[in-house]
């Protein structure tokens, strides 16, 4: 499903080159729930963004479903992201002006399936995440756990094949973290979505099928 080959990414800060990824190799099978664990600055977020097509690698290859992202133009990468990838962020990244329902429906609108997605499909995700009573609230009126559940609903409403989660429990307390992680696990089982989760917390990583460790832009094992 996800194939990463000798991936390198160098950021240029002024006149200084800062290598974030130094030849990463990684393979994730369809339906697998993989955690990438490592300390801050080890390149795990960069790896997630490159896999998600948000930024291009300096060298190396990323193949999603056999498609090499390097062969795609920016517009094509956007299209692929729209169809196949859902992002979950540590800071939730909900649009503050929209209600919870608006944030979830926005994903369907961008994917062009708002009219096609039946309300029952959207409802099943909303029910599963326990958001039915919070739909009319704006993000500012929701707790951190609720906001992250809305963000998950937004990420999965179009049934993307791949979920990329960047520290999804980083801003949550233990209780809400457990709720969110169990939901990710349930989504993985129920919809067979491939999940790649980044965390610096080894305890969080235990919810996944497999743990990949990263240090200084390298994958230590996979």
């Amino acid at each position: 499903m996800i194939q990463v080959e000798n991936l390198r990414k160098i950021y240029r800060l002024g006149s200084v080159d800062v290598p974030a990824l130094r030849g990463v190799n990684l393979s994730v099978k369809e339906g697998e729930f993989v955690s990438i664990v490592g300390p801050s600055g080890c390149g795990k977020s960069t790896l997630l963004y490159v896999i998600g097509g948000l930024t291009a690698p300096t060298s190396g290859r990323v193949l999603l479903d056999g498609v090499d992202l390097g062969d795609l133009k920016e517009g094509q990468r956007t299209e692929l992201r729209k169809q196949k990838i859902g992002f979950i962020f540590q800071r939730f990244n909900l649009l503050p002006t929209l209600t919870a329902f608006g944030n979830i429906a926005l994903a369907s609108d961008i994917a062009g399936t708002l009219n096609g997605t039946t309300r029952s499909e959207m409802n099943s995700v909303i029910q599963m995440l326990g958001l039915q009573d919070r739909l009319k609230h704006r993000p500012g009126e929701l707790s951190g756990g609720e906001q992250q559940r809305v963000a998950i609903a937004r990420a999965v409403v179009n049934r993307p094949k791949i979920l990329l989660a960047d520290e999804p429990t980083g801003n949550l307390d233990t209780e809400n973290s457990e709720v969110v992680l169990n939901m990710l696990k349930e989504l993985n089982h129920k919809f067979r979505q491939t999940i790649l989760m980044i965390t610096h917390n080894p305890e969080v990583a235990t919810y996944s099928d497999r743990i990949v460790n990263m240090r200084d832009g390298h994958v230590l094992d996979h």
């Binding site: 963004y49 998600g52 948000l54 930024t55 517009g75 956007t78 299209e79 992201r81 729209k82 169809q83 990838i85 992002f87 962020f89 990244n93 909900l94 649009l95 503050p96 002006t97 929209l98 608006g102 429906a105 926005l106 994903a107 369907s108 609108d109 961008i110 994917a111 708002l114 937004r154």
Partner: protein, 366 residues
């Protein structure tokens, strides 16, 4: 969904929305007021001039359509030469003089007998006709604006005068006095600015004009039926340029404010744009979002601008009853299209900037 997001953005940032709407409204008001004031003035002058009831107007060659800008260079003896032409029923010499005593007003110096023959005579609402050199007549609108009544004293052209009567408006000017008195005041004895000619049969206007051309080859001879259509800004030297400059100024204001408003919105919403990009929103989707928001702001601004224009017109006309402001559907449409084009132009760069933002940097934006 995009509309919901656009609406939510406008509601969530009420001050920014209000500033942008008011900027567009000011643009629309400026355009409508400048055009409305000039066209209103022109139409009002034209209608009053037509209201004299003449069939032909004789003026010096170099005179402006907008009467009053010319002095009194024509010898009054022309009256007798014109009166001898068959079909001519009456010829009224009129001397024109601008007064700035109570706003800008046109004074007609008239020979009461011939002017009554051409116009059919005044309808007096108060007082009587002109008898003495120091007397004036004013129309009801001017009298109302100045709170004047028959018998009142007033000062015009630095001369103390007395109001003999108030007449119904619509016969050329708002202020009338005897032509010889005005000639004396202005040092133009024996001169006239214009001759109004009444024919026994208006169908002979063409023939009479042809004969006038033989007698007065170097004068401007106008068929009064064409006069109203000629009173447009394009026929008044410099006026078209003035209107274009003012419209340009209005456009500049609208363009700058919309640019700043949308640009600041895009900067403020950098993170949101990053979120949209991470969700797979295309450039087209983001540009559409920004331009729809601009269009909605513009529509609100246009509506507010048209409403404000009516309000401003009411205030101006209430304060200065002699002024006419013409708000036409045609210019409302033009002003709306100008405002819309200006806004979309002003928003296009910020919209493109939004699409070019790096998604990762945008997501990290605080």
């Amino acid at each position: 969904m995009v509309n919901r997001m656009v609406f939510a953005n406008l509601v969530t940032r009420p001050v920014r929305t209000l500033v942008a709407v008011m900027a567009i409204a000011v643009e629309v008001v400026l355009i409508l007021m400048v055009v409305g004031l000039t066209s209103g003035l022109l139409e009002e002058v034209a209608k009053r001039t037509q209201g004299v009831g003449a069939d032909i107007m004789v003026q010096p060659q170099t005179t402006s359509l907008f009467m009053g800008f010319t002095g009194a260079p024509m010898p009054i003896q022309i009256q007798d030469r014109l009166a001898q032409v068959p079909q001519v029923e009456a010829v009224a010499p009129v001397m024109l003089q601008m007064s700035t005593a109570s706003g800008v007003s046109l004074i007609y110096g008239i020979d009461t007998e011939s002017f009554d023959q051409v116009t059919g005579g005044f309808r007096y609402l108060e007082g009587r006709g002109l008898e003495q050199p120091d007397e004036v007549l004013v129309d009801d609108i001017f009298a109302h604006s100045q709170g004047l009544h028959a018998g009142d004293d007033l000062e015009l052209l630095n001369h103390p005068l007395r109001l003999a009567g108030i007449v119904e408006h619509g016969k050329g000017a708002r202020i009338f006095m005897k032509i010889d008195a005005l000639q004396d005041m202005m040092g133009s004895v024996g001169k006239a600015s214009v001759f109004f000619v009444k024919l026994s049969d208006p169908d002979h206007t063409g023939n009479v004009l042809a004969q006038f051309r033989e007698i007065l080859p170097n004068y401007q001879l106008r068929d009064m039926r064409e006069y109203l259509s000629l009173m447009t800004s394009s026929n008044i030297p410099g006026l078209g340029n003035f209107i274009n400059v003012m419209i340009g100024l209005a456009i500049s204001i609208g363009l700058l404010v919309i640019f700043i408003s949308i640009y600041s919105t895009v900067v403020e919403r950098t993170r949101e744009i990053g979120i949209l990009k991470s969700m797979g929103a295309s450039k087209k989707y983001i540009v559409n979002l920004v331009l729809r928001e601009t269009t909605l702001l513009t529509i609100l601004g246009i509506g507010t601008g048209i409403g404000l224009s009516y309000l401003v017109r009411s205030l101006i006309v209430h304060t200065f009853p002699t002024m006419t402001i013409l708000l036409t559907g045609e210019w409302m449409l033009r002003a709306s299209l100008i405002a819309l084009a200006t806004s979309l132009l002003g928003a296009s760069y910020p919209a493109l900037k939004a699409t070019r933002q790096d998604a990762i940097q945008a997501l990290a934006y605080e």
